[in-house]
């Protein structure tokens, strides 16, 4: 990106580096909130929100912009989390190494699963990703390095670059905030690149994109790998922050949860998944004491969103204000 360029877009719309003015304002608000909120709310909660927000943004890249519903994204999140936890604990990797290796693990797994699953579209794609993720779940249950039912516990918060102490919650908070913002901007960059335009054309009309000469399967696979890389980064970050990687991270209910975040926030909006992650994580925190009612509430939100609220919170807001967010 060659700095900030003013581009006169369609009609009177002005965009700066791909951001429309409302988006720029929203981005600014988000960054300010990220900087201010840790003094108001519990930082550990905010870190959890940011990890899931990045995860949800990664899924939204596929679901919202390519129209592919992956029902197995927990596999990449969980694998990223396991790999980061393992290299940090057993090999003594530093924080940034562990998180990057987590992302890499997600990407490699994404290459394999994506290669297999993009052969079929629509509902079958959802079922295949779900089934393959279930296979990864059983693998994690049995593989020696994951610790089975116990998971990997007491993962050290290794120093960043080997020198910066990551023990205080606030130091690790800034690391998570940095990863989240960079990941968010990266996804926005992808969506607004020429590559992203092709992805959107595939979502709208795949045969037409093919007839224009685009090898749509390759585009879908690259988008899949990018998405799984970011899901792995999110999982790895979560493992380092909370010092634990467990089967919950790879379980299919995690896949369902992240789909819910995207759906509730608004598919195909850049800020939607962040808002969705915030709402769902907050709800789980407050309802945690009521046991299985969390599941019931999640299910009800799914039903309400699908029946009456398909654009999601941000989608509805954007439609009301007649802007894109």
């Amino acid at each position: 990106m060659a700095g900030m360029t003013l581009v006169a877009g369609y009609g009177r719309q002005i965009s700066i580096a791909g951001y429309s003015r409302p988006q720029l304002v929203a981005l600014l608000i988000m960054v300010i909130l990220v900087c201010v909120l840790p003094w108001v709310l519990y930082p550990v909660f905010l870190m959890k929100v940011m990890c899931f927000a990045l995860f949800a943004c990664a899924l939204n890249l596929l679901l919202g912009y390519v129209g592919l519903l992956s029902f197995g994204h927990a596999a990449f999140f969980g694998m990223g989390s396991y790999v980061a936890a393992w290299v940090a604990k057993s090999l003594g990797a530093s924080a940034e190494e562990a998180i990057l290796l987590g992302g890499l693990a997600g990407a490699v797994l994404g290459l394999i699963i994506g290669f297999l699953s993009i052969r079929l579209a629509g509902i079958m794609f959802a079922m295949i990703t779900l089934a393959l993720a279930q296979m990864i779940y059983f693998f994690c249950l049995q593989a020696p390095f994951t610790g089975g039912e116990d998971g990997i516990q007491q993962v050290p918060r290794a120093p960043l670059f080997g020198i910066i102490n990551m023990q205080p919650d606030m130091s690790v908070y800034w690391l998570v905030a940095f990863i989240f913002i960079v990941g968010f901007v990266f996804i926005h960059r992808i969506v607004h690149s020429p590559f992203g335009q092709v992805l959107k054309s595939i979502r709208e009309n795949e045969p037409r994109a093919t007839s224009l000469g685009y090898l749509t399967d390759n585009y879908k696979l690259i988008a899949f790998i990018l998405s799984t890389f970011l899901a792995g980064i999110a999982g790895g970050t979560k493992a380092i922050v909370f010092g634990i990687a467990t089967l919950t991270d790879v379980h299919y209910s995690m896949s369902g949860e992240v789909v819910l975040m995207v759906l509730l926030g608004g598919m195909g909006t850049i800020f939607g998944p962040v808002v969705g992650a915030l709402i769902i994580t907050a709800m789980e925190n407050y309802l945690a004491q009521f046991g299985a009612w969390v599941t019931v509430t999640q299910g009800l939100i799914f039903i309400v969103c699908v029946l009456a609220f398909r654009r999601g919170v941000i989608g509805e807001l954007a439609a009301k204000l007649k802007i894109s967010l």
């Binding site: 519903l69 959802a126 295949i128 059983f138 299910g299």
Partner: protein, 295 residues
């Protein structure tokens, strides 16, 4: 005691039987999924939840009303089927004009609600359901002891699957159904009430899942997670068999159950994943599935 391929025969046949039983449930569940998909173009993610509800309905009939296994075998599918019909009428029917993915998301939400409610009410530990006295005990076949109830389950499941196949492929009702699957507006133009046909198909598919649940109740403990444990494997079965063939889903269901059982004997760690590995191979060689029609 004799052995086959170095495996004691009773162990081999025991696991084989377990495999066939699992296969019977895979077959009944994937059959229901295939019928519903054919008619509604929806993958019913709540199928496992309805399976679980079938088992719970049988348990409730026994515990609260003193109604035993045999009446429950009829009553439970009817009750759960009616619930399915109501859900189709009130919720699912609103989505037919939308992208199919919304149907999937809605049924996933339904599954969460149903499972959550049952988990709140009955916990996750599981409730026992006794084998009906007539089918208690086991028969000595010479090479193994065959528990009578399990033999009954396999027989009953096979009968139900074949009966469903016969209804769809050989009766005039089935012909109408298949015609509506191919071209709903045309069939409607001939005076058939297609929306009602869709509702009944959904109810029928759900009833099939509930029936499987009643059959499963004495084998597995009745617990809120029994459906979701099964359903992921059933999805893999559906991918392997391919959408759109009734007989295909029956054959694939039983075959994969057997393969799983055999894997448990010869390579136990692989038994949980073998179905998924087969799915990967099928996707590489024949993406539309073994019995799927060409796109």
């Amino acid at each position: 005691m004799f052995s086959i391929f170095g495996v004691p025969a009773p162990l081999l046949f025991g696991q084989l039987l377990l495999g066939i039983i699992n296969g019977a449930f895979y077959a009944m569940l994937s059959l229901g999924l295939a019928i519903i998909f054919g008619m509604l173009n929806i993958i019913n993610f709540a199928h496992g939840a309805f399976f679980m509800m079938g088992a719970f309905a049988a348990w409730m009939l026994l515990s609260y009303a003193g109604i035993g296994y045999w009446p429950a075998l009829i009553l439970s599918p009817i009750i759960v089927g009616i619930i399915g019909v109501i859900l189709e009428k009130t919720l699912i029917s609103r989505l037919y004009k939308l992208d199919h993915l919304y149907g999937l998301l809605l049924t996933f939400g339904l599954a969460l609600v149903i499972e959550g409610v049952f988990r709140n009410a009955y916990g996750s530990s599981g409730l026992p359901y006794r084998i009906p006295p007539v089918l208690a005990g086991a028969t000595n076949l010479g090479f193994m002891f065959l528990p009578n109830y399990r033999a009954w389950v396999v027989g009953a499941a096979l009968f139900v699957c074949l009966a469903t196949w016969a209804i769809i492929e050989k009766t005039s009702l089935g012909a109408t159904l298949r015609a509506a699957t191919e071209n709903a507006p045309l069939v409607q133009a001939f005076g058939v009430n297609v929306p009602r046909l869709i509702t009944l198909t959904f109810g029928g598919g759900i009833a099939l899942a509930a029936l499987a649940g009643v059959l499963a109740a004495p084998i597995y403990s009745v617990n809120p997670n029994m459906g979701s444990n099964f359903i992921n494997t059933v999805f893999a079965v559906v991918v392997i068999g391919g959408m759109g063939s009734i007989m295909g889903s029956i054959v694939t269901g039983f075959a994969l159950g057997i393969v799983e059982g055999l894997t448990k004997v010869f390579y136990p760690p692989g038994s949980a994943t073998v179905v998924f590995v087969i799915m990967v191979i099928i996707l590489l060689v024949r993406p539309r599935g073994l019995f799927g029609k060409a796109a």
